[in-house]
Subunit: 308 residues, 2 copies
């Protein structure tokens, strides 16, 4: 799967991923109104609004980008109808040729992780039939439970040619509270990174592994160190833009082959029309604003990569 992602990144010359993390307040008023008229001010109405919002953004950007990363929490907040909108988004993006990274951050004991892995990347057997639940291409995974919680994801990655990104150093302000704690002189996130590299050896797909990691754009010095320690691990980088990470910082996350990292922006793209910079588009053209924001982001990151 990572080789497919790399192919798309190279084809579009765009090491970026659009985070489809819709909040209802991002959805233009007219679009909300139309959804509520059809489904009421209900979970169904909210789910329809975010689905239509997503569809507009995907239609306006899919030719420019290799992948999307829907954050499942933003759908889960609207219960079952919200999760149905998540599934619709996953399917639609795959139809459009995009790689879908489900940002689910699941992780549990072995038998439970096996169920998550089956539901999001793999398949279940029902009677004599094979069925698929969410069927993303890749997902994010939380490592706190250790190897036996990760192994079922590795098994599915191998069977189904899918991929995972394991949390190593997250982009949020308090990520250091546990992740930066020193163990024999080295921070916990380095120990996790070492494990990720080991897990990755089982799942190589060309020059890179189907087991990637997450390192926030907000901690570039750590990104630089980790980049060297895990050369065959793809890094999914959240935190660009709205959270404060800059393109210059991000150049450190790439290998000399120009690969090895994919940078996510969510709010910065999907709610672009709400920023001063793109306000001229207006709410009625929110998707075109997102397209412009995607083009600007690609130019920003590719520019910084060239200077590095």
């Amino acid at each position: 799967m990572i080789s497919k992602l790399i192919e798309k990144i190279q084809e579009k010359d765009a090491p970026i991923v659009v985070g489809l993390d819709p909040m209802l307040r991002y959805v233009p008023e007219q679009m909300q109104k139309a959804a509520f008229e059809e489904y009421g001010e209900t979970l169904e109405g909210a789910a329809e609004a975010i689905w239509q919002f997503n569809k507009g953004i995907v239609d306006a950007t899919y030719d420019l980008i290799p992948a999307v990363k829907p954050q499942i929490a933003m759908y889960e907040q609207f219960g079952i109808p919200g999760l149905a909108a998540f599934k619709k988004t996953v399917d639609y993006c795959k139809e459009k040729g995009l790689i879908v990274i489900g940002d689910i951050k699941r992780g549990d004991i072995g038998s439970t992780s096996a169920a998550y892995a089956a539901g999001h990347l793999g398949k279940v057997t029902v009677g004599n039939q094979i069925c698929r639940g969410f069927d993303e291409d890749m997902v994010t995974v939380n490592p706190y439970l250790g190897s036996d919680g990760i192994q079922p994801f590795l098994d599915v990655c191998k069977e189904e040619d899918k991929g995972i990104f394991v949390l190593v150093k997250t982009s949020n302000p308090s990520s250091g509270e546990f992740q930066d704690q020193k163990i024999d002189g080295k921070p916990l996130y380095e120990l996790v990174a070492q494990k990720v590299a080991e897990w990755g050896e089982e799942c190589m797909d060309g020059d890179y592994s189907n087991v990637g990691c997450v390192i926030g754009a907000t901690y570039p010095e750590m990104g630089r160190v980790l980049r060297k320690k895990m050369p065959r691990t793809y890094i999914l980088v959240p935190g660009y833009g709205a959270q404060g990470g800059t393109a210059k910082d991000l150049a450190l996350y790439f290998n000399k082959d120009g690969l090895g990292a994919i940078v996510n922006s969510s709010r910065g793209i999907i709610a672009a029309y709400m920023q001063e910079k793109y306000a001229g588009f207006g709410a009625g053209h929110y998707a075109e604003a997102s397209r412009q924001a995607v083009m600007d982001m690609i130019a920003d990151i590719n520019g910084a990569k060239k200077q590095a």
Copy 2:
């Protein structure tokens, strides 16, 4: 919420919770067949089978127990229909007067955790209406991202009188890989426990806090130490029975007031009829086997508590 849970534990004299973690292979063949005849060998068919299976167990045990703990992964593996069965199970158990602990182990950066907290414990605003997604009473939470990933859950606990159990030391064999690593001479799980106690101070509800923790039954020595360090924190204890924890070990997890811990059993209860001990019930009476297993578990744990 913790005071409501304690009330129910005392009323039933049963410091236990039944883990509603259905696998399709636990569902008696006749029940599977009936579901598949109605819905096909599909995700819908699987979801109907596990829902009917759950309903049988709840009907046969609700008068004996204070709470249930559905593990959402077991539903999520069947996609949207599976999650609809999860929601049906949550609602049905609440109707039966049970406290529902959603075993969801979510945890993310602040804004994302806020969406999970809203979806599982709180509410969302859609137009002028207030809607609720899953609306469990309590949920489990993963601490790897630190305080700002926990805070939104604390906020919802306070607003809505709900509760969380934060993972401290999990029951699986490889939980020590990261959780036991020494930081200034103390294991990481102790540092997490200390934070849990701090977070809990914000959310007191009687003698205990609405912020509890998870400590596996499989690590009794750690349970004993942590019990003393966090006297006002309720401990949710997985790993009894099928995973190897014994009642004698578990006595250490309780305070002198006889409270402070609630022990989960999943497979040991819901798939009791598949064990030699309860095989006499037969698949047709799987729910009665579960009832017997619940009675035996309560006697086992209360017996060990008295001896301790």
